[in-house]
């Protein structure tokens, strides 16, 4: 239960940053916090308290931790890193045209 509460708290913290902060860089940080919360939560809820694979063939393989969440999260981290990197690149690109990183001065996030 504590895992779910911590996850929701951290996730909403990131979401708060995206909704409220008036700087694109801080909004990217918010995205990263949300991603971090998800990664933490996935590892926590699939933990069975067992031993870590890879197991050698001589060992008796019982009470193993599931290795798949770790593989999925590695992929998730790669995707998260590349989206943040790309967003930061776009923000640097934007700096050529304007000094501001305030989304409200750039047309707003919920105006079309």
């Amino acid at each position: 239960m504590i895992n779910h509460i911590v996850f929701i708290f951290i996730f909403l913290l990131g979401f708060y940053a995206i909704l409220v902060k008036k700087s694109l860089i801080k909004m990217v940080i918010g995205l990263n916090i949300m991603e971090g919360a998800i990664f933490y939560w996935f590892i926590a809820i699939t933990d069975r308290g067992g031993i870590i694979p890879i197991v050698q063939s001589t060992q008796v393989a019982f009470n193993l931790n599931d290795p798949i969440p770790q593989a999925l999260i590695l992929t998730g981290i790669v995707i998260g890193a590349s989206t943040s990197a790309f967003l930061l690149t776009l923000i640097i690109e934007l700096n050529k045209f304007t000094d501001s990183t305030n989304p409200d001065q750039l047309g707003g996030m919920i105006e079309d």
Binding site: L24, M34, I38, F86, D112
Partner: protein, 504 residues
């Protein structure tokens, strides 16, 4: 069969080969781009010829086990009638849009082709994969590459649109990711078929949370009403072939994901018992009418077309959720007609805007006297959008209204018709401006037009070819009913898919 893997590998490999070839010889890239698009097309053609009997019956089932691992453990690529329909649309339309880009952007932009081939690979991957985490990875690949193409012009507007698209897309993706985690931690599998077989064993609340998370993610990525803020900016600042690709093809990929996930992987009965399907229809129809109203008040041509996309996607999502056989056929028919019409509108617009000083509708005076054929093409495609008879748009809208009436969604049927009438008004406004005569020799009307087109003839030919497809598919619309009916059968009987994947 390995052909399924080739459909993903060919564009992926080409994307990585293009920068390498660039170092050696810039001219060789032209050959590579053309050869790779043709290779992809012929691979698909070969697949069709090989399985022609099954496709005609609507029973095509092809499976490829990655690395020889059997389904619940390994990743599978699979093609059934639903994947086949969407893969066909992607292969043909993206191939012609790449040819259009060769005329529009020219050969000197290497990065453009890298990104468009990556997009192609991602779209084929989403359609062909049978693994939900693979689906997520391909969705994020599609997001990053399309965002890079939206900001391709490297101006202020494009960069802002790209940043906005990224924020909405990443948040949508995170909702999907949470849904996948809930699925994995409860069922211990990522395979579509195995999730589908065991989904009803989950508790009522878990099913609800997972459904809502995936709905949120897909609606953000589709640009359905409460999350439609990125659509107009993204589709209007991108280069025209990319606008066509985003509005015509990428949005249809998420329609595919909606169908695949909610009909064949999750239990559609859940949506029906909780009344969530009524809510989806309500949101989608609201989104549709809001899209049409926003298009009506817009003075910028490309933004107007983008808002019209919101309008049509709303109708498609709503009619699919009605979930009768006729409704699914009508929805899938409208997927095809909207794809062809939107691509022809954006491709003709891309050409016509070269002869106007800005994207504003009032600046389009006199485009008719300069480019009669292309302007006529625009009018035909717009007539399809309004739902005038010989075009496919008329028949798909007719069946949409019919299927709404069949299930007594009278208001939805009415709003579909109202949407078409609104479309009539906003397209007519542009067309009337286009027909206004201007004297090109007079000093007031003089305008400096720098056509940036690389090969004008190629651009107009492909745009007119898409317009031709709008008319021809309208004339032969009855032939689509057989295949689409087998898609509807498959969607109503997910057990066929489960047996095929887990039994094969």
């Amino acid at each position: 069969m390995e052909l399924l893997l080739l459909l993903i590998i060919i564009p992926l490999l080409t994307a990585f080969l293009i920068p390498l070839i660039d170092i050696i010889n810039k001219k060789a890239r032209r050959v590579l781009v053309l050869a790779a698009s043709l290779a992809e097309f012929f691979t698909f053609l070969f697949l069709v010829i090989n399985n022609w009997d099954d496709i005609a019956d609507g029973t095509i089932f092809i499976i490829y086990k990655m690395g020889g691992w059997f389904p619940p453990l390994g990743i599978v690529l699979s093609m059934d009638m639903l994947s086949f329909y969407f893969s066909l649309l992607i292969t043909i339309s993206v191939m012609f849009l790449i040819l259009y880009s060769i005329g529009y952007i020219g050969h000197h932009e290497g990065k453009y082709y890298v990104l468009i081939f990556l997009m192609w690979a991602a779209m084929q991957g989403i359609v062909l994969t049978g693994d939900i985490f693979n689906f997520y990875v391909f969705v994020e690949l599609l997001l990053i590459t399309s965002a890079a193409l939206i900001g391709f012009r490297r101006n202020k507007k494009g960069t802002i649109a790209s940043i906005k698209y990224m924020f909405y897309g990443v948040i949508g993706g995170l909702f999907i990711f949470i849904g996948i985690i809930l699925l994995y931690s409860n069922l211990g599998t990522l395979n579509y078929a195995e999730i589908s077989a065991n989904f009803t064993t989950l508790s009522f609340n878990t099913q609800g949370i997972i459904s809502i998370l995936f709905l949120m993610g897909l609606f953000i990525k589709l640009g359905i009403f409460p999350f439609h803020f990125w659509v107009a900016r993204a589709q209007s600042t991108a280069p025209s072939p990319i606008s066509a690709l985003l509005s015509g093809v990428v949005e249809k990929i998420y329609i595919y994901a909606f169908l695949r996930l909610f009909w064949m992987v999750f239990n559609f009965n859940y949506l029906q018992t909780t009344g969530l399907d009524k809510a989806i229809i309500f949101i989608a129809i609201t989104s549709s009418i809001i899209g049409h109203i926003l298009a009506l008040q817009e003075s910028d041509l490309k933004r107007m077309l983008a808002y019209s996309t919101i309008g049509h996607l709303g109708i498609i999502v709503a009619v699919l959720t009605v979930n009768t056989k006729l409704a699914i056929i009508a929805g899938l028919l409208h997927v095809l007609s909207h794809l062809l019409m939107k691509i022809s509108l954006f491709t003709t617009t891309g050409y016509l805007l070269q002869f106007a000083p800005s994207h504003q509708i009032k600046d389009s005076r006199g485009v008719a006297q300069q480019n009669m054929f292309v302007f006529a093409g625009f009018i035909i495609a717009a007539a399809g959008m309004m739902g005038l008879p010989p075009m496919l748009g008329f028949f798909s809208k007719l069946y949409i209204v019919k299927s709404f009436l069949e299930k007594s969604y009278y208001l939805s049927a009415l709003l579909t018709i109202v949407g078409s009438i609104t479309a009539l008004i906003y397209y007519a406004r542009y067309i009337i401006y286009g027909f206004k005569k201007i004297n090109l020799n007079s000093p007031q009307e003089f305008r400096l037009i720098l056509s940036v087109l690389y090969r004008e003839r190629l651009v107009t030919d492909i745009a007119l070819m898409f317009v031709g497809a709008v008319i021809i598919t309208g004339l032969i619309y009855k032939t689509f009913f057989g295949p689409l009916e087998s898609v509807a059968n498959l969607l109503h009987n997910p057990s066929i898919y489960i047996d095929f994947i887990l039994g094969g």
